[in-house]
């Protein structure tokens, strides 16, 4: 009898487990479907690229692909991307260690200084620097000292690095803050030197963080047009623009596809390097590295960087305010509406990007399957394609799918931002999902919390920092975005960057000053929100 009861009970038990599994499977299937939908939506513009490129006659396509010109700019672009990535790591990782793991005085202040360059559009940095350096530049005319002009490929590498290394800084910093910092101490007690401990214990833990930031920096570098153009460096985006300028959209599309192919390789390589280590395990405070006398050079280094990346451009913009007045240009006169429009668009983009990022990041963070990896990686493609290409693709798709809503309202523009900037949210949300302990979720489930409730009460608070960080990154980059904004904004809706662009075109720099300063101010403020939210969360 007993055995029968057992059997019944067992079968009931099995039944419950199966039910649960089925429900779990259903849940995962739903999640996978949502991720797939998001990935499909953001990859949609690529279909337009393929379609356009397929109309190029084969011979011409072949010529374009194998031409020496293409080879040269491919090498240049890859070089630019690699150097920016490497230099971003060289700058970003030590800065992150310095501000989180050492007894550097005023760590919050230096954190802000190190992160803030991300808010300055790199092409604006380029304008400021070319005006500053070189013979005939502001430094030359003020002090009579001529610092060599920065231009060409090395100049573009320099500028883009200065304004993108914060990606690495921010992601590395987040990884450092969330890893168990007593581990290196354990390593030290086992007689490892500080560098040995860093290399063997810390580095593997924060590697996904570094890789995530490095990927964003590299992809930004290869898709940037403004800075290389301003520095007279010829890269892939130059050639794409050249064909655009010849009204050869299909050739431009073909070139853009080549760019996508390069990026796909990068994404695969990065997926290998940045493979996930379990970086979770609490936030016990380990001992900090004592800088001793080294704190002075350390502070000197961060301040020097801050002067170059922040003080120089801000000084230049401010000096523009006082440039001699020519005829007034009423259409460039500053209006608060510009700032409002910029923020409105950026907030919308940040919200939608988070909503899109959540299923993709959650799915790929929970299941490390090939499918989840592919779906996650797919969302990165848009980030690597120049904004003008995504913009045109959406012009085409928008007019074909919802013509009566085309350029009515901001939905298509916001979608363009999401296509471009989603990976920033996916990356940060995903790394915080990785750090949610499975056991906590299981515990909540055993306490009879439903899936939704568990998510709301356990998972969501845990991934909130990642979500906020992602939202802020999307907000910042949306504030800076230009080509898609010009193309898809409701007609007549000016933003801060569109006015900067107009003013620069008209050589009326004085009108660019207020929008540029305001752009830095607003973005800087949102950066503060992110940084302090992270720290508050950890204390």
């Amino acid at each position: 009898m007993k055995s029968i009861t057992d059997a019944v009970q067992t079968s009931q038990h099995v039944q419950t487990v199966t039910d649960r599994l089925e429900r779990a499977d259903l849940w995962m299937v739903a999640l996978a479907a949502a991720s797939a939908l998001v990935a499909f939506l953001v990859v949609l513009p690529m279909f337009w690229l393929v379609w356009q490129a397929s109309t190029v006659e084969l011979l011409r396509a072949y010529d374009l692909i194998v031409s020496s010109q293409t080879a040269r700019i491919t090498a240049n672009s890859i070089g630019l991307m690699l150097f920016v990535t490497v230099f971003s790591i060289v700058l970003g990782v030590p800065l992150a260690v310095l501000t989180t793991r050492t007894d550097l005085p005023y760590p919050r202040f230096w954190t802000v200084v190190a992160a803030l360059p991300l808010v300055i559009p790199s092409y604006i940095g380029a304008i400021a620097f070319t005006g500053m350096f070189g013979s005939g530049g502001e430094i030359d005319s003020l002090f009579g000292v001529s610092i060599p002009r920065i231009d060409g490929l090395s100049g573009a590498t320099f500028i883009i690095t200065l304004y993108t290394y914060p990606y690495v800084f921010l992601t590395t910093r987040a990884a450092l803050l969330s890893m168990d910092s007593s581990l290196p101490d354990a390593a030290r007690t086992l007689n490892a030197g500080p560098f040995e401990a860093f290399r063997r214990v810390t580095l593997p833990q924060i590697r996904p963080g570094i890789a995530a930031g490095a990927l964003l920096a590299g992809l930004y570098a290869i898709s940037d047009f403004g800075t290389p153009a301003f520095m007279q460096a010829s890269v892939f985006t130059s050639m794409i623009y050249w064909e655009f300028g010849n009204f050869n959209v299909e050739y431009a599309a073909l070139l853009a596809l080549q760019l996508v192919a390069i990026v796909a390789v990068v994404l695969v390589i990065e997926a290998g390097i940045g493979r996930d280590e379990d970086a979770s395990g609490g936030t016990r405070v380990g001992s900090t590295i004592r800088l001793g006398i080294w704190k002075w050079p350390a502070m000197g280094f961060v301040s020097a960087l801050g002067v170059v990346t922040l003080v120089v451009p801000v000084t230049i913009f401010t000096s523009w305010l006082f440039r001699s007045e020519g005829d007034p240009i009423p259409s460039l006169e500053f209006q608060w509406e510009f700032a409002f429009n910029s923020m409105y668009l950026a907030v919308l983009a940040a919200l939608v990007a988070c909503a899109f990022a959540l299923p993709v990041a959650y799915y790929s963070g929970r299941t490390n399957s090939l499918v989840s990896r592919i779906l996650e990686r797919a969302t990165y493609v848009g980030f690597a394609v120049p904004g003008v290409v995504i913009g045109l693709a959406l012009v085409f798709l928008g007019t074909r799918t919802l013509p009566s809503f085309y350029r009515q309202g901001v939905w298509l523009l916001v979608f363009a931002y999401v296509v471009r900037f989603l990976p920033q949210a996916v990356g940060t949300v995903r790394s915080s999902v990785l750090q949610v302990d499975d056991k906590t979720i299981e515990a909540a489930r055993t306490l009879n919390a439903g899936r939704i409730e568990t998510f709301r009460r356990v998972t969501l608070p845990a991934i909130m920092p990642g979500l906020v960080a992602g939202a802020v990154l999307v907000f910042l980059t949306t504030m800076k975005e230009l080509p898609a904004t010009l193309m898809l904004q409701p007609i007549g809706m000016d933003t801060l960057v569109s006015i900067i662009w107009d003013a620069q075109n008209a050589l009326a720099y004085r009108y660019a000053a207020i929008p540029a300063l305001l752009l830095i101010l607003i973005s800087g403020f949102s950066m503060l929100v992110m940084l302090f939210q992270e720290e508050g969360d950890l204390s």
């Binding site: 010109q69 153009a229 300028g245 020519g326 005829d327 259409s331 460039l332 045109l392 080509p483 007609i491």
Partner: protein, 406 residues
């Protein structure tokens, strides 16, 4: 010999030089556009019926009767024209500082008029119009580049203008059948830094600058100090003009020689002019570019050392136009037609001269502002809509010879 008077100074310095001595808005120029004077009889193809194709809701602008008096080559004022009422959406490749004032003036003149302006890169606008097709919200495409206007015509995106407009503008400034028309003239120039000219052996003043565009490619003295901007529409127009005048081989040779000068190639006209103005050791002293970039810099800073001179009788002084085309799907053909009439009427033309330092395209409009009279002008006639060479071929020529931006 006492000549501080501006007009004296102008006659003294002759006809090739851009006078930047006063802060007058977009103070201009001498030396161009001989073509202004020779009015071709207008083409007879202009008044044909209907646009080409025409999409949903589109109307034929060519059939829209004038709301007031029709425009004609002798110059018609805004008072004679009909009222503008309604909404027009304009895609502009020109920048707001150049054109917004005209729109504003029209909106002030007519209470019921709203002009929606969309400013973007000229090339982007063409590509965008192509992708939008009949779903475009634009009624009018306003461009500084005849090549771009030709491109939207080739893509079948625009329709014919009313016959009175077509008959008002000389054929060399518009598409022969009236699919687009020039509205104002502009000119290619040699920009130079006045303070640095003496760094070039044998150049003591602007007067010593060559008057032949070929010398800028072959004269060793310009090696390393000259610059241009190959991705600009007007530079391609310049290449097309040279092919027209000198043949393709000579043009290729010019490009090859010019590239041997180790020129700096800019991708933005503003950047280029700013570099000439800055005058650092690595900056170009001389640049091929449009005159108005220099005019803007002088306008912003009267002490700016940038000046402009012109070559004589060759493609270097290409007289080109900025102009408009109307899309296939205009909402209100009468309004759009009347709008274009306003641009080629007297006040519209004067506005371009006064505020932009551009030239009129309508013969019957008198010169106003600091412009040279027709006697001072020297530039061959180009029929800019009928270059032998297509825009695309011009680009390919540049590509072949290794002259790409950057």
């Amino acid at each position: 010999m006492t000549n501080t008077d501006a007009s004296d100074a102008r006659s003294l310095t002759g006809r090739r030089r851009f006078l930047a001595t006063t802060g007058l808005s977009a103070a201009l120029v001498s030396g161009l556009a001989g073509c202004l004077g020779n009015g071709d009889e207008n083409g007879d193809a202009g008044s044909g019926g209907g646009g080409n194709g025409g999409g949903s809701g589109g109307g034929a602008v060519a059939d829209a009767d004038p709301l007031g008096a029709p425009v004609d080559p002798s110059g018609v004022t805004w008072d004679d024209l009909g009222d503008l009422e309604g909404e027009i959406t304009i895609y502009s490749g020109r920048t707001p500082d150049q054109i917004d004032l005209v729109f504003e003036e029209l909106e002030n003149e007519y209470d019921g008029l709203t002009i929606n302006r969309d400013y973007d890169d000229n090339d982007v606008q063409v590509n965008q119009l192509e992708q939008e097709g009949d779903a475009t919200p634009a009624d009018v495409f306003y461009s500084q580049d005849p090549g771009a206007l030709g491109a939207v015509h080739d893509m079948g995106l625009v329709q014919q203008l009313p016959s009175d407009v077509v008959e008002t503008v000389p054929e060399s400034y518009r598409e022969p059948s009236g699919y687009w028309t020039g509205v104002s003239g502009r000119v290619r120039s040699i920009q130079y830094n006045e303070d640095r000219l003496d760094e070039v052996p044998g150049l003591d003043s602007w007067d010593d600058l060559p008057t032949d565009i070929f010398e800028y490619a072959t004269d060793d003295r310009f090696e390393g100090i000259i610059s241009t901007r190959p991705n600009s529409g007007t530079f391609r127009g310049f290449i097309q003009a040279m092919v027209d005048l000198e043949g393709e081989n000579a043009t290729r040779q010019w490009v090859r020689d010019f590239m041997d000068q180790d020129p700096q190639l800019f991708s933005g006209g503003s950047d280029q002019a700013a570099a000439v103005e800055r005058g650092g050791d690595d900056d170009p002293i001389i640049a091929l570019g449009n005159s108005y970039y220099a005019a803007r810099l002088v306008n912003e800073d009267p002490n700016s050392p940038i000046r402009v001179a012109f070559t004589e009788g060759d493609a270097g002084a290409l007289f080109s136009v900025a102009g408009v085309a109307v899309t296939n799907t205009v909402d209100d053909p009468e309004l759009v037609a009347e709008f274009v009439r306003h641009l080629v009427a007297v006040e519209g033309q004067e506005f371009m001269m006064d505020d932009n330092g551009e030239f009129p395209v309508v013969e019957g409009v008198d010169y106003v502002g600091p412009l040279p009279g027709p006697a001072d002008l020297d530039s061959p006639t180009y029929d800019i809509s009928a270059f032998d060479m297509e825009l695309q071929e011009a680009n390919e020529l540049l590509e072949d010879e290794g002259m790409m931006p950057l």
